[in-house]
Subunit: 416 residues, 2 copies
């Protein structure tokens, strides 16, 4: 049989490490596994029979793939409807699978993608189509349940904590008599994991940045927040604030300048500027704000070695699951000990985690809702540990494009 | 004699490398040089007699200082008025100098700071006060004339070019059928040096990010810009744009959402969002934008080794200039060859460069005004070359605070 590997949703700094591990692990089983095809542009590429033959990648390129950010084969945001709602999509998918002898699907995505794993698995069972579908977790948001953490998160967390520490030293050195504020807006959607991770920048010193961490799990109360900002500025001359893109007021409404893409998806962004302006208007401090946006999930020059190792381990495990016929499962990270951090990989049924959203537990947020606890830091610290060497050319990371070998299409074009 | 070292204006990822080099070089001359005092908070700290005795820093701390971002001794934005306009300020400065046997001043700043060097030097001459004042260049904007480049620029340039390469891979993998755009807003004030540096991310391939580079030296013409965006999206499915914070329309008005701090200084920022929104409104593409803000000038985890070496060399040279009595001079980088890049340090009179602003030469900007030329890349490439090892603790750069030993004040408090 051949395998189909597809990337889904927002990409990360280490999703290609998972891809490289899938390909390398499959090559170790030349008997049962023929070729790993990668869908070009996620599940939509699979529907289009737009497949990449990864046999064209030599070892040097696989190594380069493993340290290249973004989704090397392309990703997409597309929710596969239920088979009962639109059987044509599934007809087409299985036709593509049959045309290319695909007996295993590895779907690399977030909690929404695990829903696709469940649906595809059910549809194959119903039709008696012999394919093993396995989910592989990935998201910088760290919001998949059933796993200690999600590949991509540790690296984004390391980048953001480093950025807060560095930028915090910058604004500290510029702090004047009139007070200044630095606001860092981070991703995370409805969860505060990435925001919480910036707290690691403070180390053991509460006077070091970030002084305030705002997460979506706790309502944003202007007066409580502003009082803290003023208190910090009075003491230190400046204040640094991490703002999760998804923070909400007590009314549950997201605190941001909303904008929508054509599909109607909300593009989060703007919470940081809103908070910075609020401070400026109410307290008169001058402000700087940063929105790293894609930079935080693409910073392959500064990945967490732990995160990278987990991304690879989960990719390898997924191939094993396919070989073992563990249909509808997802390999997850299980934490064994905090210090030293140890973990292994265990299977969890995608059906038990699909579409759920893991939020920060209450004990990770301080009582006043303005920072995180030592318990949160104990959980987070090992996930950003370790660095990897960076291969550079002319002072920049070597991310030359891979030689992509497109598979000749065997089916009629498909019109969605 | 003792030396006074002060940091001025916006800080950088390597200004502390200059500071460390000044302190280390001074220690090599224990005969003529006693102590290096660092002004706490720039020239305002000197006026306040707020001095740090750097003898308290041991070798380990000096090494750590050399790789810590921000201004370890504090900086400020303060334009010293001419001695004829406000002699009291100079009376006070010379009183502080006399109280602490200061015979040499090393002022680490940008083109505005070189004006202070000129004024202080003239005032000392006029009063017959025996102090040698030397400027030491620093600015991420790279806009000081008379030097091949400015310490701080190469590291910010490396960070931004890396960020564009990484984020470009992210958006490329997400490119859908409807077109998407990524906008990176960078610093640079009235000059496009930092924006131009992101062009290094493309390497030799014009189809790789950034596809468009907007610099303040060329008026921003909406229709020409939008036509290019559309052309790139039609070809690739996405488009990446670097926007300098200071770009202006044909009317000369800055394209940004203006905001002001209390002192009336314009806080640049918002050009990127303006451009992103323009694209969305006129072409309908969805967009992401990033504003690294302080992150770009504080990214000590990813400095240019070349930049770091120059920051150190200029600090060392400045100490030599003080010893040689080269009053009113600034050590500058002179480029000897492009490939391999070689350079040395030469003295230039601060009076010939103060308050001037070096802009991108016309031959560095492409004819259509939407990108930079190979000549620009030839100039820029060596400045981002080389990496330095990063010392980490728990996965984050080790930037523990230095033990600061404040000098006991000998003068009456001073009321500005």
């Amino acid at each position: 049989m051949n395998l189909l590997y597809a990337q889904s949703g927002g990409v990360t700094a280490v999703i290609n490490a998972t891809a490289a591990a899938v390909i390398a692990a499959a090559r170790e089983h030349p008997g049962p596994i023929g070729t790993v095809f990668a869908a070009r542009g996620g599940i939509l590429g699979a529907l289009d029979e737009y497949l990449i033959d990864t046999r064209g990648l030599d070892d040097e390129e696989l190594g380069r793939l493993a340290r290249t950010p973004g989704g090397a084969f392309g990703s997409c945001r597309f929710d596969l409807p239920d088979a009962s709602a639109d059987p044509r999509l599934y007809d087409r998918l299985f036709a593509v699978f049959a045309a290319h002898d695909i007996g295993g699907v590895l779907y690399n995505g977030g909690n929404g993608s695990m829903d696709l794993v469940v649906r595809l698995s059910a549809a194959a069972r119903e039709r008696g189509y012999p394919v093993v579908t396995v989910g592989v977790p990935k998201t910088v948001d760290n919001d998949i349940v059933g796993t200690d953490c999600c590949p991509g998160f540790g690296s984004a967390a390391k980048y953001l904590a480093t950025s807060m520490r560095e930028a915090g030293l910058d604004i500290a050195s510029m702090a004047g008599r009139k007070g200044s504020v630095f606001v860092l807006e981070v991703m995370g959607r409805n969860t505060g994991w990435l925001a919480a991770a910036t707290a690691l920048a403070a180390g053991d010193d509460a006077d070091r940045p970030p002084h305030i961490v705002l997460v979506p799990e706790v309502p944003f109360i202007e007066e409580i927040f502003l009082a803290r900002v003023r208190e910090v500025v009075d003491r230190l001359g400046y204040c640094t604030v991490t703002v999760s893109e998804g923070i909400r007021g007590p009314d549950g409404i997201i605190l941001m300048e909303k904008s929508h893409d054509e599909a109607g998806h909300v593009q989060l962004g703007g919470a940081g500027l809103s908070v910075a302006r609020l401070i400026n208007e109410r307290l008169g401090y001058k402000f700087h704000w940063a929105i790293p946006d894609y930079l935080q999930r693409a910073a392959a020059h500064w990945v967490s070695a732990t995160d990278h190792a987990q991304a690879m381990a989960l990719g390898r495990a997924a191939v094993t699951y396919v070989l073992e016929g563990r249909d509808g499962m997802m390999p997850a990270v299980r934490r064994l000990t905090d210090e030293p951090y140890s973990w292994d990989v265990v299977p969890v049924p995608a059906a038990t985690i699909a579409n759920l959203e893991r939020k920060l537990p209450r004990e990770f947020v301080s009582a006043d809702g303005l920072h995180v606890t030592t318990a949160a830091c104990r959980y987070l610290r090992p996930l950003i540990a370790g660095e990897l060497p960076v291969v550079t050319v002319d002072g920049l990371p070597d991310h030359r494009p891979l030689r992509a070998h497109l598979v000749r299409k065997g089916l009629q074009p498909w019109d969605a």
